[in-house]
């Protein structure tokens, strides 16, 4: 019988939720790293007992934690994220150039093949990599040469929040940065270029079709179709069928096309999930109804998934890293809210149940399907 492990990062610690393959009864472990913000916690595809967590604090800065036993015990590893060479500058709020300053790790993406190799997306936006299990981190500085001087932080900070590794081509990586956009490398991180063609930011940018500056919230890929990407942008849900070269809108009949996470069904590459949020100034669901929307057609036609989710007086948000799928059949879908609930569906979104209801605000959710 397979098992499921849900890794939850919150504003005040990490929690590990475990169940068998039925996904009905859950054990809750935590808080780990109590009192610290856990921006992200995830496991290695190559060794599911190898976990990494980004532990941060406005007082004490960044810590990276590593577990080799599935989250039972942890050890702090390297936390030195030094930009390569002279850090240089990016756009600042007042129109001047501002030096790059490390603030925190937003997202950790372990290699598909090696548990000791992990990519880290940081604020101020840059990509780092470790090849020694987190002991030391080196920047891939080519990314910031992709018009980095034009990047400008939004109100939420200039974070590199999404890292998508191409399972068919180890040289190709996609990343996304708030208020900068999507970037792609085809040479394992040496050189990068923006891949934002087709994005339109009519309200946020003076040139709505600028090459960089789009506020991409999240991108997702199904491993069987690495050239197909789905995107939740600040406004607009988008799709690319050519590895980011061009994007087209697939918001269709959503009640709002603003939101943060986007996820792809584990076994159906054209089935995708979003959580519509009312607007960029009202970070809660439309009409006080928490609804996941599912498209089985790769976008444009969407259905509301409501069974088990609050359909009145609900004003929580679901953050960009707080939705994930397992690889069981039927596919399980999970998301966490800023109200501290973690909801699970063991039937691809048809029905939902809260695993826990009263955690601190949830920042990230990842799922591991264990043998």
């Amino acid at each position: 019988m397979s098992a499921t492990r849900v890794l939850v990062g919150t504003r005040k610690g990490a929690f590990v939720l475990t169940s068998d393959g039925k996904r009905e009864r859950w054990e809750v472990s935590g808080p780990h790293f109590a009192g610290w913000e856990i921006y992200h916690m995830t496991g290695s595809p190559a060794d599911p007992n190898r976990l990494y967590a980004s532990q941060t604090s406005g007082w004490f800065g960044q810590v990276i934690q590593r577990s080799s036993d599935g989250g039972t015990t942890w050890e702090p590893v390297g936390n030195k994220f030094a930009y390569d060479g002279v850090p240089g500058t990016h756009q600042w709020y007042d129109g001047t150039q501002h030096p790059w300053e490390f603030k925190r790790v937003w997202h950790l993406e372990p290699s598909l093949a090696d548990p000791d190799t992990v990519y880290a997306g940081v604020e101020d936006a840059a990509l780092f990599r470790t090849v020694d299990g987190g002991q030391t981190w080196q920047e891939l500085p080519g990314l910031r040469r992709a018009k980095g001087h034009l990047w400008q932080p939004g109100a939420g900070g200039m974070g590199l929040h999404t890292i998508v590794l191409d399972p068919s081509d180890p040289e190709r990586i996609f990343i996304a940065i708030s208020a900068a956009g999507v970037f792609r490398t085809d040479d394992a991180g040496a050189t990068w270029r923006p891949v934002n063609g087709g994005l339109k930011s009519n309200y946020e940018l003076p040139d709505p079709e600028a090459e960089v500056g789009h506020c991409v919230h999240r991108i997702a890929m199904h491993p069987s179709r690495p050239n197909v990407l789905f995107m939740q942008k600040h406004w607009d849900v988008m799709r690319s069928d050519d590895a980011g070269e061009s994007w087209r809108e697939i918001s269709g009949d959503l009640p709002s096309d603003f939101g943060f996470p986007i996820a792809v069904h584990a076994h159906e590459p054209e089935t995708i999930y979003v959580v519509p949020i009312k607007s960029d100034s009202e970070h809660y669901p439309p009409d006080g109804k928490l609804r996941v929307y599912r498209s089985r057609t790769g976008g444009n036609e969407w259905e509301a998934l409501t069974k088990g989710l609050p359909q009145r007086d609900c004003y929580v948000n679901v953050l960009r890293d707080a939705m994930a799928v397992d690889s069981l059949d039927p596919c399980g879908v999970y998301f966490g809210t800023t109200g501290g609930q973690v909801y699970a569906s063991a039937d691809a979104g048809d029905r939902w149940t809260p695993i826990v209801r009263d955690l601190p605000a949830v920042l990230s959710v990842e799922v591991q399907t264990l043998p």
Partner: protein, 98 residues
């Protein structure tokens, strides 16, 4: 013997209970105390002062003998009572307000 009081989150990170006691060779300064602390507990590197610039993190404070030493230069001598181990050197998380 220098006595150092860490905030709770750094005590748990370094896995220490109570005060930390450090032997310092030479002048007892902010820098020499922090150098010795980080040498004993490498996990604290980057959590009190920046890895590269060695500047104090913005929301930490250094107190001793009822004085705020946060803005003293790194090579300033700490009070005699701290150097003699009679009073602790306190690393404090600044008030968040609220």
């Amino acid at each position: 013997m220098i006595r150092v009081v860490l905030p709770a989150h750094l005590r748990s990170l370094a896995r220490v209970d109570g005060q930390v006691r450090l032997e310092i060779e030479g002048p007892v300064t902010l820098q020499s105390v922090l150098d010795a602390l980080e040498a004993r507990y490498p996990v604290l590197r980057g959590t009190i002062r920046d890895h590269v610039s060695h500047e104090r993190r913005a929301f930490l404070r250094f107190f001793a003998c009822k004085q705020d030493l946060s803005h003293e230069p790194p090579d300033a001598l700490l009070p005699d009572a701290v150097a003699a181990g009679e009073e602790p050197f306190r690393i404090v998380g600044a008030l968040a307000g609220g």
